[in-house]
Symmetry: C2
Subunit: 242 residues, 2 copies
């Protein structure tokens, strides 16, 4: 039986404030839950609705499982299509930057789908050092987690602000902004580079603009004004030397 305390916890964790306080988050859907288990995330417990007909939870993980009725399950979450399985999982600890190779600095990526997708793509290309600047969506909200396909349990972002950029600069890092008025010279993406990805609607914030050493632009355009932030990041990730 799922206790009232656990139900309250699940409802609370749909709110960023409580996620930050408790350092826990919710994952909905079979794919997400299994990715979290596979990635070694600390799963507090799993809730299965009685309509759940998916794969069984591997027994060796000894995770507490609670069954509930569908109508109860529907009341637990805000997502429209509750697929019958969710897990309460500890948010993993961010690692310190190793300060070697590319670092990605996300500057105000407010769309959780874009944010999660950026982690999924970064992992594909072996990019593991990602810093979340001010104005980014909470990576451990349900949409971002879903879009990241488990990558957010393996590449844990570090929170940072423009002061960190200054420290990295003193460490010998080159600060390169992904921008519309730059060059597509591939050498800009080599070595110890901080790639700054600006927000979907406002680009790179003025505070960071002044810190840029270079601007990298993806050649193209035609009648299109810009690329989607996750798309632009992906194309540059595919060109970064890791």
């Amino acid at each position: 039986m799922l206790s009232d305390a656990k139900k309250t916890l699940i409802r609370k964790l749909q709110n960023k404030k409580h996620r930050t306080e408790m350092q826990k988050c919710i994952i909905e859907g079979e794919k997400g839950v299994f990715e979290a288990i596979r990635s070694g995330a600390q799963v507090a417990f799993i809730v299965l609705a009685d309509s759940y007909r998916g794969a069984p939870i591997p027994a060796e993980h000894e995770i507490e499982i609670f069954d509930i009725f569908d109508d109860e399950a529907k009341k637990l979450t805000s997502t429209v299509t509750f697929s019958g399985i969710l897990a309460v999982v500890a948010i993993p600890q961010a690692k310190e930057l190793v300060r070697k190779g590319p670092i990605v600095y996300l500057d105000g990526i407010a769309d959780p789908g874009n944010l999660g997708t950026i982690f999924r793509t970064a992992e594909w290309f072996g990019i593991t050092q990602i810093v979340l600047g001010p104005g980014c969506s909470d990576p451990y909200n349900e949409k971002a987690l879903r879009a990241s396909m488990g990558s957010l349990f393996r590449i844990v972002p570090r929170v940072g602000d423009p002061a960190l950029i200054e420290i990295l600069k003193q460490d010998g890092y080159t600060i390169t902004g992904l921008d519309m008025q730059g060059s597509d010279d591939a050498s800009l993406l080599e070595g110890n580079v901080v790639l700054v990805v600006g927000s979907e609607s406002h680009g790179i914030s003025p505070e960071l603009e002044t810190a840029l050493d270079n601007r990298y632009t993806i050649a193209g355009g035609n009648e299109t004004e810009s690329l989607n932030a996750a798309i632009a990041a992906a194309i540059v990730f595919s060109r970064l030397t890791v």
Copy 2:
């Protein structure tokens, strides 16, 4: 005054069946409406809610504009955040394929956001020949249009099925699938190539698999199972020779 007939039309056009019958669609939001006007789309009329405080509609376009009250406006659309402006626009006619240079064949891209983003990215890289295979989302639904940022009014997809692939093959086209078990040899993306992009969840459909001449894979992976379909398409678009 917005007539009841026009209100009914707006409600109907939120449904794919009616869009196909009438060859009209709805665009919501200032950015989308202005992009459609700029792209020379045939705008039937524009509806402004009384709270609309955006840019004025350029007078030279002589588009009929109807003002309505906010509470009426809210009843017109299904989108949660109605921004105060929408337009009813004619779906543009697809052009015949010129059969020179790359052709993109979308095979079951069911997510409208991914579909719209693919058009936006294709246009950025100068790719203009796109075929929608069976199972794709309707490109003129509101989400796809929004994600395309106007590109769907400039690059109009042609509807096609696997039979078209056979015709293109006879025309000398090479059929290359974007796939997980291929090679990342850049020469696969040169010349007259049909790039087949498979669905988010099922990949390339069996019917098309048998027609493939080559399989192209974006090198990478690590712990990630796959890339998002719009991301994978974007990376390949950035490598295609147009």
